[in-house]
């Protein structure tokens, strides 16, 4: 499996560290409803099919990436920058995933 890093280009999966489900959002710390925090920490949709997930390019540019990958076929349909560089892939590399 290879991931097309927007910064470094196509790289082997061994360069990346998996960061899990990319759709969960940490509730604001002012939220006192336990269920919201339990859902964030423990509960996952775990789909068979397209899955939005985070990967850390730990052996490369060290950017966090938001990857859409099919969990049955391992086909990757989109890779974009996550975190503070979100949406800036085109500016950094001149090309998307």
């Amino acid at each position: 499996m290879r991931i097309h890093c927007p910064c470094c280009g196509p790289r082997g999966v061994a360069e990346f560290s998996y960061g899990g489900d990319g759709t969960v959002r940490r509730p604001d710390l002012s939220v006192t409803d336990t269920d919201a925090h339990v859902a964030y920490v423990f509960e996952r949709e775990n789909p068979r099919g397209p899955h939005v997930e985070l990967w850390h390019h730990i052996g490369g540019c060290r950017h966090w990436l938001r990857v859409t990958r099919d969990t049955l076929t391992h086909e990757i349909t989109s890779v974009e920058m996550a975190g503070r560089f979100a949406g800036e892939a085109a500016r950094i590399s001149g090309a998307g995933a």
Binding site: G12, V13, Y18, D21, V41, F42, R48, T71
Partner: protein, 419 residues
């Protein structure tokens, strides 16, 4: 059921082995049962067996999407052990060990349970301290555990690289002498035959496509072979847990599905008479009766439903095994394969009533499900029959994550890829 014995073998030999009965019937689904088990793997079949044997519930069906035992019961590395530290875990797995010890007799089927010992290697003084702590915790629960020094390990496993110049020199190990291996397929077949003999219908090629509800209660399943009704539906489908429960409207669970690869080498003469695990990485290896070395390592560490893995893990596992047992580097790999693990958020299983009325869940086995097969079925049967958990599986609830009672043997936190 035709009883297997030396006499029956002799009698059938004299008649040219033409009179053996099939080990279980090919059942067609009836419109209704007292209970349904979804999943004809080890855990589903053992649940059906213990429901019939311990609780007198014989009007039950086991529904299997493919053929019997086509999932993880036939894909694992066959290791049986109860060397856990946390009381919630080691009591349960020790009960499993006790059931294993009488299983072949109980089922009248040779599951080839071989108590050859499981040895965990230690490579640092702190790891040895940690093993001593785990061994003490086991012995407090009446489980056998022995701390071995370097010389004892070298005597026990002659093929190990015991060189002080090894990248990770071996300092000692923790041995559980009663642990060992079993013939994995025979476990599925033995439970299927014994359950069938007590009247359980085992229905293969019958995929569950939906759940029947009445007033918020699950009252049966829709399948590719029609509707089947039952007041109790137990789900034991390992890596497909999230998929199946989504059909019942349960969208989120503390489970991720990951692929675990396993490997077998070409057969060689007897060289390894126990199970050994590498302590400076994650590797477990034993030798099958056919002579192949059977081993595995880490999961691929990303969500996957593909029953095949990636090459970086293959390379990693091969480098570990050849670091530990250098002679293995000269053997050829015969096969490798993958199975889908239901990795839970704390690395411990779930055997519980719910999450909906009429539904019962058995899941979250990570990659330790095989050794649990007897106790998992035994406890799940109890839970389904009495609508409450047995004390042995009381810690394995679904709401433990909510209540803060996680059972994190490894202390790795809520990261399924780490367990």
């Amino acid at each position: 059921m035709q009883k297997y014995s030396a006499l029956s073998l002799l009698r059938n030999a004299l008649s040219g082995h033409r009179d053996w009965q099939p080990a279980w019937r090919k059942s067609d689904p009836k419109p209704a049962y007292d209970a349904i088990i979804v999943g004809g793997g080890g855990h589903g079949l053992s649940t059906a067996y213990y429901l019939a044997k311990e609780h007198g519930l014989t009007n039950i069906a086991v529904l299997e999407k493919g053929w019997l035992g086509s999932g993880n019961i036939g894909r694992n590395t066959t290791i049986v052990r109860s060397n856990y530290m946390l009381p919630g875990n080691n009591r349960f797995y020790e009960w499993s060990m006790k059931l294993w010890e009488g299983l072949s007799l109980d089922l009248n089927y040779n599951v080839m349970f071989s108590q050859r010992g499981v040895l965990n290697l230690a490579h640092t003084p702190s790891q040895l301290d940690d093993y001593a702590r785990r061994g003490n915790s086991m012995r407090l629960e009446g489980i056998d555990a022995e701390l071995l020094g370097r010389e004892e390990v070298a005597r026990m496993v002659p093929g190990l690289d015991m060189s002080p110049n090894a990248r990770f020199p071996v300092l000692g190990g923790l041995l559980q002498p009663r642990a060992g291996t079993a013939r994995h397929d025979a476990v599925a077949w033995g439970y299927a035959r014994a359950a069938d003999a007590r009247g359980v219908d085992i229905i293969e090629n019958c995929e569950v496509t939906g759940f029947l509800r009445e007033g918020g209660r699950i009252v049966g399943v829709e399948t590719t072979r029609g509707e089947i009704r039952a007041p109790k539906v137990g789900v034991a489908v390992a890596g497909s847990t999230s998929q199946v429960l989504r059909l019942a409207g349960v969208e989120r669970l503390p489970i991720e599905s990951h692929v675990l690869q396993a490997f077998v080498s070409e057969p060689v003469k007897p060289i390894l008479d126990c199970v050994v695990t590498f302590g400076a990485g994650h590797l477990y290896i034993s030798q099958s009766d056919k002579g192949g070395l059977v081993f595995g390592g880490d999961i691929d560490k990303y969500n996957s439903y593909a029953q095949r893995g990636n090459l970086p893990v293959v390379e990693h596992v091969m480098s570990e095994v050849s670091a530990m047992l250098p002679f293995v580097s000269r053997l050829r790999l015969l096969r490798n394969w993958g199975g889908i693990m239901d990795m839970s958020m704390d690395g411990s299983p779930i055997i519980t009533t719910g999450p909906l009325p009429g539904l019962y869940l058995n899941a979250g086995w990570c990659y330790g499900g095989f050794k649990a097969t007897p106790a998992s079925g035994w406890c799940f049967a109890w839970t389904m029959a009495k609508d409450e958990p047995h004390p042995l599986n009381a810690p394995f609830t679904l709401d433990r994550f909510q209540r803060g009672y996680v059972l994190d043997e490894r202390g790795a936190g809520p990261y399924p890829k780490m367990h």
